[in-house]
């Protein structure tokens, strides 16, 4: 074993976004030795991109807010298939976690009386999102990073984990390579926390960075842990579509909040064409009324552009499929039109939406005060992930914990904006705390040499082959296929084709041959990530096939209604002994009476 450099820690955290950093801080504060591994440099994880804010019922702006309201908003948003205990803990603990950031140096925007300011966001009843302009994620990750570096955490940057190591049933470490020279590393640990983020890179159009390849999902699955809710993916309705290079980059909901309207290529405001029955009462009858709502008229009802994210995304897809899209396959989002209504429209837009103005100016040569934007849905977030215990974040495999976007439960079928950043803090802390508790009862496990050799063999075989496949092409083809066949609008037939397609891509992956050496070689990294992307793609597809209804992030055109029976279950996914993917229907436990009552009271 002397062949590989070996590191020993009590707790190993894999991932340095908000969840991983918060977990590492908690674990190191308990006095144990903590290692933190991440694929990029410290401070660059996906969390840095979050914009809108972090949700916590601190009631700084509206004193009617409290954890009960936040809990019921989260459950309604998740269409009641959430893990209700996680939703409860999250709502209760988020305020303390946000205040703690302030004690560590975060500088949130302020209310007039000097407290943390909170803003309105979709699905939250009261202004609830603590924020710093539109760069909340940066503030959060930097605060955690700058606090964490003084805690004695050992950080391993640009190190990628490619396999979890087990001693019997228990996870006892991880096998990884460092990017610079491709050298392999062994990490031994009494407890391992996965905090690897999302899977956006399984789709062609995404707001996620290259890191979002579902590594944690696949590592856990391969180690025998259960995944849950994998069918639920959030497609944000408005991503940029043009120019091609910026496709997927987020266009904030705020544009529509300021009066922006959606139009098809015929100039029709199509959102008025399909308003779900249960929202009819709350939706404007006319463009005029919608406009008044955006200008703060409390007697007006919201314009249909502000219906739920999943619905808006589907309407956009419908227009494009019907041939009424823009030349680049989106629809128009027009804020410039408000000059018909107000005299100083360009100044007003620049003041209200500064970063959107600059984003389009700089990346698309487009002046949003004069021209409409082209937008379309973008893959944004996965509600599904590693199945965890609500209190401890323990996975179904001993020694393995998970937190953040790679874990699942709190969001159910759909996540509310702002609930991810708070999730990272609340459950990152819990994962750290309980991983330490677990680690203290353990001794270091044995590292099994044959496991390591097997992972290494698989990792390097592409250098020895003379196949003809390019890993970038396979990734590209997978992304295109998932986008087309397991995207926003799904049906059985297309998803069955996707399963066949995934099999084919798995075969093609075995024919990859690589050039160059293992020193900082992106084609090699991409080839390794493919295993993870294919695993999560299969899990998403299988779960989506099983859920024969439409709910939240999952829309089936062959089962377009919600079905109460499916509202009582989650789907879990596990690797069976033979290596096949096994899917199981598990009932959602009965909610305690007091939580039920909260939901009833809040309506």
């Amino acid at each position: 074993m002397a062949e590989y450099q070996t590191y020993e820690h009590d707790v190993l955290v894999i991932g340095a976004g908000g969840a991983g950093l918060r977990a590492a801080i908690e674990a190191s504060a308990a006095g144990v030795s903590v290692g933190l591994v991440c694929k990029s440099l410290l401070g660059k994880a996906h969390t840095v991109m979050a914009e809108g804010g972090v949700a916590a019922a601190m009631a700084n702006v509206d004193d009617r807010d409290n954890w009960r309201v936040h809990f019921s908003d989260t459950m309604r948003g998740g269409q009641y298939v959430n893990n209700w205990r996680m939703a409860e803990l999250h709502a209760k603990e988020a305020p303390d976690r946000v205040r703690e950031l302030e004690a560590w140096g975060a500088v949130f925007d302020r209310t007039k009386d000097g407290r943390i300011l909170q803003r309105n966001f979709g699905g939250h009843k009261y202004p609830r999102l603590a924020h710093v302009g539109d760069r909340t994620g940066l503030e959060m990750i930097r605060t955690l990073q700058d606090h964490g570096i003084h805690q004695g955490i050992e950080v391993y940057m640009e190190v990628t984990v490619i396999g979890l190591l087990k001693d019997g049933e228990r996870v006892t470490g991880a096998f990884a390579y460092e990017r610079e020279h491709g050298r392999f590393r062994i990490f031994k640990a009494k407890a391992v926390i996965l905090a690897t983020g999302g899977i956006g890179r399984a789709y062609k159009i995404t707001s996620n960075s290259w890191e979002g390849t579902g590594d944690g999902h696949a590592l856990a699955y391969d180690a025998g842990a259960e995944l849950i809710d994998m069918e639920f993916i959030q497609f944000h309705p408005t991503g940029m579509v043009y120019p091609p290079s910026v496709r997927g980059i987020l266009v904030t909901e705020g544009v529509r909040g300021e009066g922006g309207i959606l139009k098809n290529s015929e100039g029709r405001r199509f959102m008025f064409d399909d308003i779900p029955d249960n929202y009819k009462d709350q939706t404007a009858d006319s463009p005029e009324e919608g406009w008044r709502y955006t200008q703060g008229d409390k007697n007006a009802r919201r314009p249909p552009e502000l219906l739920t994210r999943d619905h808006v995304a589907r309407c956009i897809v419908r227009e494009v499929k019907a041939g009424r899209g823009t030349p680049n396959g989106g629809v128009y989002l027009d804020i410039a039109w408000i000059k018909e209504k107000i005299s100083n429209a360009p100044e007003h837009i620049k003041k209200k939406l500064p970063s959107m103005y600059h984003q389009f100016k700089q990346l698309a040569d487009l002046d949003i005060t004069e021209q409409p934007m082209e937008v379309g849905p973008t893959t944004h977030y996965i509600m599904g992930g590693i199945r965890v215990d609500a209190e401890t974040q323990a996975s179904t495999v001993p020694g393995l914990f998970a937190a953040g976007e790679c874990a699942a439960g709190i969001n159910g079928a759909n996540r509310l904006g702002g609930n991810s950043l708070s999730d990272l803090l609340v459950f990152g802390k819990r994962a750290g705390e309980y991983a330490v508790e677990f680690a203290k009862e353990q001794t270091q496990g044995e590292i099994n040499q044959s496991q390591i050799e097997e992972i290494k063999r698989r990792a390097l075989e592409a250098f020895e082959r003379t196949g003809s496949e390019n890993p970038f092409h396979i990734q590209h083809d997978l992304q295109a296929m998932m986008q087309d066949l397991v995207g926003i609008v799904r049906n059985e037939d297309e998803m069955q084709r996707a399963l066949v397609g995934i099999k084919e891509l798995q075969e093609r992956r075995k024919k990859i041959s690589l050039t160059g050496n293992i020193d900082f070689n992106p084609s090699w990294h991409t080839a390794l990530d493919l295993h993870n992307l294919l695993t999560v793609s299969e899990a998403i597809t299988r779960a989506a096939i099983e859920r024969k209804e439409s709910r939240g992030g999952q829309y089936r055109e062959d089962y377009s209604a919600k079905n109460a029976e499916f509202g009582k279950v989650n789907f879990t996914i596990k690797k069976e002994a033979g290596g096949n993917m096994q899917i199981e229907r598990v009932p959602i436990p009965e909610m305690p009476a007091e939580l039920k009552q909260i939901i009833e009271e809040m309506g």
Binding site: L42, R99, G105, R110, G114, P244, T515, D519
Partner: protein, 247 residues
């Protein structure tokens, strides 16, 4: 479709050279897109860093036609295409491979700066009160995405290699954010004078010019810090008063 020619630095700490590539340019492309396209089609082992592709993470710093920039925010149509576009790594840091440099020095420097130390909470519930106007300046500094482009252009580091003595503009901004934080009670002025050698900065303002976040590094961070250091250590009246005053 139009094509553009590139000269991209390929090599390691042992040496290297510019290698020529040609790639197709589609509308709206940024330099990072071109580099990734070359990586995907012609040079799978071309090393570069990127994450957000939206100017938010500070990973993709490089020198484009000699100018320190974020590759993801540099549009192709802002560059002349009648000659090859050169892309090279930052110069103030040791090279790892191709466009990737070893920036670990920055992380070590940060660890040495004394951490945030807040005053006791203002309210019984453990929270503080701060007015927006009192934090505007600190929020400007906290916009920093740690791209290290300012470090790259600072002649004290780039030309004089004083990495052991001088912390560079990025960490002067960081220190300023801590020193000007309304809640902070730590005093870093002696360290700024003796350890960070703020005196080595001669206010050329090159750092401010390249900052992609538009942070007014010199005027808003470095000069006020220099004034505080002067006030603390060189001004006889302040020094006398300091005898009777805690920070």
């Amino acid at each position: 479709m139009a094509k553009a020619a590139f000269k991209i630095w390929r090599g390691s700490s042992e040496g290297g050279e510019f290698v020529s590539y040609t790639t197709e340019i589609s509308p709206g492309m940024v330099v990072l897109d071109a580099v990734l396209q070359i990586q995907g089609e012609q040079a799978g082992d071309l090393a570069c860093r990127w994450n957000c592709k939206a100017g938010k993470c500070g990973s993709c710093s490089a020198e484009i036609n000699g100018n320190p920039k974020l590759m993801c925010m540099t549009r192709m149509n802002t560059l002349p295409t009648d000659q090859p576009i050169t892309v090279e790594p930052m110069k103030a840091f040791p090279l790892k491979k191709d466009l990737v440099t070893d920036v670990s020095w920055n992380y070590r420097v940060k660890e040495k700066i004394k951490k945030f130390k807040p005053r006791p909470p203002d309210a019984p519930d453990g929270t503080w009160r701060m007015m927006q106007e009192d934090i505007d300046r600190v929020q400007e500094f906290r916009k920093c995405i740690e791209c290290f482009l300012c470090q790259d252009v600072c002649h004290v580091l780039r030309d004089h290699h004083k990495h052991e003595e001088f912390i560079g503009p990025r960490f002067l901004v960081y220190a300023a954010a801590l020193e000007m934080h309304p809640l902070d009670t730590e005093n870093r002025l002696r360290d700024l004078k003796d350890e960070s050698n703020i005196g080595l900065c001669n206010i050329t303002k090159c750092c401010t010019k390249v900052c992609p976040e538009g942070i007014t590094i010199t005027d808003n961070a470095i000069i006020p810090l220099k004034e505080r250091v002067v006030g603390e250590f060189y001004d006889p009246i302040t020094r006398f008063l300091n005898l009777f005053r805690k920070k």
